[in-house]
């Protein structure tokens, strides 16, 4: 009777060697696969992941660089704008300052001219008043002398008379 015709038929191994060899072969394959094959594949997967994420990192870096360049450009533009505005402001301010200076100068000049003119007028007026006083006095005296026919050589009297006359004139209220 062969083992295949035993009570369990083909469900019992014909020889125990099948069972033992099966276990040994599987364990050998398992150990080699674990020691060599799987690490090789896993290393390759890790490399692949690194390569892919490395590429992505590179792209990200490029993007960041582009953004930085854009920001710098924008900043530059803003700076230029600012500068232009500043220049404009400065020009405006300078213009205003110059205007103010000129105005002040003109005003000073005008007031100086006015002052000078006034002083001159005053001087001329007082001069004229003085001359008039003198002339009018003399003329009046002469006239009065002629009219009265008397010589009014007494200067002190004449001066008093003239002053008295003028004082009456000055008493006349101004119109």
């Amino acid at each position: 009777m062969t083992p295949l015709e035993g009570p369990l038929g083909p469900l019992l191994p014909e020889h125990i060697s099948e069972f033992v060899v099966g276990i040994i072969l599987f364990v050998i394959i398992y150990l080699v696969v674990r020691k060599v094959v799987v690490p090789r594949f896993e290393t390759m997967y890790a490399d692949r992941t690194a390569a892919i994420s490395g590429g992505m990192e590179k792209a990200e870096q490029a993007q960041a660089e582009a953004q930085a360049a854009l920001a710098a450009y924008k900043q530059k533009m803003a700076g230029a704008d600012d500068e232009a505005a500043q220049i404009r402001e400065a020009a405006k301010a300078t213009g205003a300052q110059i205007q103010a200076e000129m105005r002040t100068e003109a005003e000073q000049e005008a007031s100086r001219i006015v002052t000078t003119a006034r002083a001159q007028v005053d001087a001329e007026r007082s001069h004229a008043v003085e001359a008039l006083r003198k002339d009018v006095g003399t003329m009046a005296t002469v006239l009065a002398g002629k009219i009265l026919g008397e010589s009014l050589d007494d200067d002190a009297r004449v001066a008093r008379t003239v002053d008295g006359f003028i004082a009456t004139l000055e008493d006349v209220p101004a119109r």
Binding site: E18, G22, I29, V32, V37
Partner: protein, 291 residues
């Protein structure tokens, strides 16, 4: 030949001698005793009833040799496809990567989940060893599926049994693991009288038995079926002369054997895959927190 005596005619014809059962191993270096008790024709002598084969008759058989060759093929395959792996795969690498990916991501990661990497080598070795041995049943040189010898199937099933119990005991300790595997939570206590023996039976006894028997029986029956259709068909075609019906039936059965052959190619792959997925599944259930 009178009609109605078909069966008799078959028996009366030249009955071919197929020798020993095709599932029986043949020693590569038969001892003298073995040769004497396994004559090429005729009956073995009566003294062979107590014949004990020599150790070489047991350890160096065609089927053991075939399993060793399968293991060598598996190792060669993996060592060749995993040589100088590139980030951008070549065609040779692509084949290996496809298979490795299927087992790593499709089986280990999807079934076991967290910490699946530890079990990838086991599943890779298991699947490829089984599938190569199964394809030996359909390809030249051997034309015999190794796992139709039940001893090999028992070996792998016991190893898977040891694996999933070992990882479970390592994670939970013996008592807690036993409790986890036999006492599902959320069951009213009187039912435990029923549940505990059932769970114990299903998780520790029937799992390895079904693993081994599923693999073995599929290949055994597949090979048997092909043998019946091919051998029977050939016999009907050639040995029964002057009978057109027999010859036609023989031709048909040889044709059917081709279809079964194609089916066996599928079964060879499928059974290897099922064995691997179930092993992963058992590991997963031994590790899982709940249940």
């Amino acid at each position: 030949m009178a009609p109605g005596s078909v069966g008799l005619a078959l028996l009366e014809g030249e009955v071919p001698t197929f020798g020993v059962s095709v599932f029986e191993s043949t020693p590569l270096f038969p001892s003298a005793g073995w040769t004497a008790c396994h004559p090429a024709s005729g009956e073995a002598p009566a003294s062979c009833a107590t014949f004990q084969p020599a150790w070489t008759d047991i350890w160096f058989t065609n089927h053991i040799c075939q399993a060793v060759i399968a293991a060598a093929v598996v190792l060669l395959f993996w060592l060749i496809v995993s040589r100088r792996l590139k980030v951008v795969p070549s065609k040779r690498q692509y084949v290996g990567e496809f298979l490795y990916n299927m087992l790593r991501n499709g089986v280990a990661r999807d079934v076991i989940g967290t910490n699946y990497q530890k079990y990838v080598p086991w599943l890779v070795a298991l699947f490829t060893f089984i599938v190569v041995n199964n394809f030996f049943g359909e390809f030249f040189l051997f034309m015999f599926p190794t796992f139709s010898k039940v001893g090999f199937a028992w070996a792998l099933a016991i190893l898977s049994w040891v694996l999933y119990n070992a990882v479970g005991i390592k994670k939970y300790g013996f008592g807690k693991y036993l409790k986890k595997m036999t006492m599902p939570p959320g069951v009213p206590w009187p039912l435990y009288i029923l549940i505990i023996p059932l769970e114990f039976l299903s998780n520790f006894i029937t799992r390895p038995i079904t693993l081994a028997l599923r693999l073995f029986a599929n290949l055994f029956s597949g090979h048997l079926l092909i043998m019946i259709f091919v051998a029977g068909g050939t016999w009907l075609l050639t040995y029964t002369k002057h009978n057109l019906v027999y010859n036609l039936a023989g031709g048909l059965s040889v044709l059917i054997s081709f279809a079964i052959f194609a089916l066996e190619l599928l079964v060879a792959f499928l059974q290897a895959y099922i064995f691997t997925v179930l092993t992963a599944q058992y590991v997963s259930s031994a590790l899982s927190e709940e249940h």
